[in-house]
Symmetry: C2
């Protein structure tokens, strides 16, 4: 163990003692096809280095490895190589299969692991089911908040007083994400049917006409009047287009599109292509719209590329990119506090494939420091609950009214419904969410 | 590459050239809490050694590693150690998280992998979602057949003409296994509700009484008249007991218990504890009941412990144990044919964690030989479809009639319904199964 006696001003890392080599090494693992993960991660590191009041001499070293999607063994191989280089923490952005392997690896080696879940092909996300950790010592922190789409859907269905409806979901969507929703609707006696939508969406409807009798088709047309779409934005557009083309949609159809990620442009496209009423549930980051916050978060200046909407770059990012930026900020913040507390455990190289290898003895203390941290970054406030997941998430519900003149007279509905999952949530899966209906932004009444 | 010139008679492995060291090394990975996996695997190896006409001099060497359940990194560590020792094939019996990691490892190293899926805590199984293999070269063969419970349930629900019912499932059950079932029932316009059952089953019902109004409770009682239970045998017993105790079950309740694994004793216990009618869907192994087959399969003699029902041992085994035995037989059969064809690639030690390591050059040829094989073992015929899974599986549907005198007058229903999924199945998920209703065993009409 090495104790560094360093004086730091607030910021992230300002060192009065100058070391030639960086003692701070972060490893990162990204999937090959996610170019922006890499970019934004490096922007975060560079923002930390460029800020005058932080990291004057103490720099963060970083190493990035790229893996194929859905290749957990390759993830282990690359993470082991990073651990041989002596990393203090691992930041990853992958699907669930690789995450599961990396979680058990970092648990075994005591390396703090900030995990950002990536969605498959734009489909709505279901949180990965991770493994129980040995002795309850969990080294993986989920930077993306738990998926709360079920809660929002439940409230919306309640508001709309739907008794019978159909849920269409992407073949990439993991329906275990609907367990809480189905439990609740079943208890309330609602009729919910589920239907998987193949990648080849046009096939869905053409099959119907060949396989169904007229009476069945009529019943199906009736069911389609109230539909929840757990699809990618592009998938939903094709789906509704097909329903309109095949005369299955009607002007009293109500489509509820549910996905954490959909851009303003995609919402407009969706609304334009749909006959009937369209409601959209998506995640929002309210800080973006607050111009007074601009590019400063506490003492940290964010590259204008990432915080100025004028730049256009922000709109091109995926939600996972934003959480990656904030994960780096979270780590830097923890390093700062560790150095300030003079409780710095130096990191040696770990040979993780040899079974006799001892894990990092400073790992748990580092993990605790990260977990206790709280930063304000691109996604708003980030901190972790006891179960290791980020507690902050907000949704909005947008909608059009019923429209007879399909494709032309689409209005934004006046009622903007906004959801705030309480900052501190309990361990139970079902929350009583705060709902603000037809209220000015920010003024909420408890539902 | 090493070519062995060996003359073999039919059997598994009879070598006229005697080698001092075994060239046949099988690695195995089991979960610590599955003692029988270990036992039956070793019985299979010992049966192969004891048979006179096979393996006179050429013995199978085997190495077993034990891992914690749900620890994919440990699985990789142990598998890498086995590969360093130079194994020709890996036999594993684990849950899905470890299987996913082992699949991508064996794909990378070109080591044939016979995988037997273990159920979590006796819950019904949902086949693991494995990763796409690089270049389509898949090294994992699933010894347990795909889960066909959905198909059987669909036919049963059709036979019973159920229009509205509830499905209760274990919290350990992966509801992605219900996708096909839900798709079909939704198309047919059936009302299906889903409800998860926590481990603490008594809590389920006590919650109902505190959270539901009288009208809701009455509706719920009505729904409970037609229920499918995707639970462990023990869980179903407690569940029905609770429903009876709380007066939610009635004498016209119909419970359909669905699980590949449930013993005769457990079925009797379940039927005795239930009010109303009980139907059970489970997997069967018809060969067991055919006394003429006894302990010989082709030329292979199975230890009487494993094939003589009088011994009582067979009844104590889990289905995964049986598939492990047959996996070893399948491998031995492939080794025999490789040696006979004089196409033996010797195996060198692989250092699987070093990224520069070349995979085994004999792997694909060995995999193909295994995949083309066909044996008759404890589970009946075993062979593999193009997608790498065993195609042979049979189910039976057992039942009592409605019974007013709960717990006393339980009769086995006369109609024993037996399912035969066709030997060669297509790639589509939905089969037209062969159904034998009220027909003598073995005589089936197409449904």
């Amino acid at each position: 163990m090495e104790l560094l006696i360093i004086y730091l001003s607030f910021g992230i890392l300002q060192c009065s003692s100058v070391g030639a080599d960086s003692i701070i090494h972060i490893g990162a693992i990204f999937e090959e096809n996610a170019a922006r993960d890499d970019e934004v991660f490096q922007l975060a590191i560079s923002d930390l280095s460029l800020n005058d009041d932080i990291l004057q001499s103490e720099k963060i070293t970083h190493s990035i490895k790229y893996i194929e999607p859905n290749n957990p063994f390759q993830a282990v191989q690359e993470a082991c190589e990073l651990m041989t280089q002596g990393i203090l923490a691992l930041v990853t952005s992958t699907g669930c299969a690789s995450a599961s392997a990396l979680q058990s690896l970092t648990d075994a080696m005591h390396i703090p692991h900030l995990y950002v879940q990536r969605n498959a092909e734009g489909s709505p996300r279901t949180a990965c089911q991770l493994n129980p950790s040995p002795d309850g010592e969990r080294y993986t922190l989920a930077a993306r908040p738990p998926v709360r789409l079920s809660d929002v859907m439940l409230t919306l269905v309640g508001e709309l007083r739907w008794q019978k409806f159909i849920v269409f979901y992407d073949s990439d969507y993991d329906i275990r994400g609907l367990q809480v929703f189905l439990d609740q609707t079943s208890r309330q006696g609602l009729d919910v049917s589920l239907q998987r939508v193949d990648r080849n969406i046009s096939g869905v409807f053409s099959n119907l006409f060949t396989s169904m009798r007229t009476e069945e088709l009529n019943r199906y047309r009736d069911t389609l009047r109230r539909a929840i779409l757990l699809l990618s934005p592009r998938g939903a557009q094709v789906f509704i287009h097909q329903a309109v083309e095949t005369n299955l949609a009607s002007k009293d159809s109500h489509w509820v599109f549910v996905n954490e990620e959909i851009s303003d442009t995609e919402i407009m496209e969706l609304a334009h292509s749909s006959l009937g009423r369209m409601t959209v549930i998506r995640q929002i980051f309210p800080l973006w719209k607050d111009s007074s916050v601009s590019c400063m978060r506490n003492n940290h200046r964010i590259s204008s590329l990432l915080c100025d909407p004028q730049e256009g770059y922000l709109q091109s990012l995926e939600v996972s990119n934003l959480y990656l930026y904030d994960s780096v900020l979270m780590l830097a913040n923890a390093f700062y506090r560790k150095l300030e507390d003079r409780k710095w455990h130096s990191m040696a190289s770990l040979n993780c494939i040899r079974k006799s290898t001892k894990p990092w003895n400073g790992g748990w203390s580092m993990l605790e420091t990260i977990q206790k941290g709280r930063i304000t970054g691109l996604t708003g406030i980030m901190d972790f609950m006891d179960n290791g997941s980020n507690s902050h998430v907000q949704f909005e519900i947008l909608g059009t009214s019923f429209s007879e003149t399909f494709g032309k007279d689409i209005k934004r509905v006046s009622s903007i419904v906004q959801f705030l999952v309480p900052d501190i949530v309990t361990q139970t899966d079902i929350l009583t969410p705060y709902l603000c209906v037809k209220q000015p932004r920010g003024k909420c009444k408890q539902h």
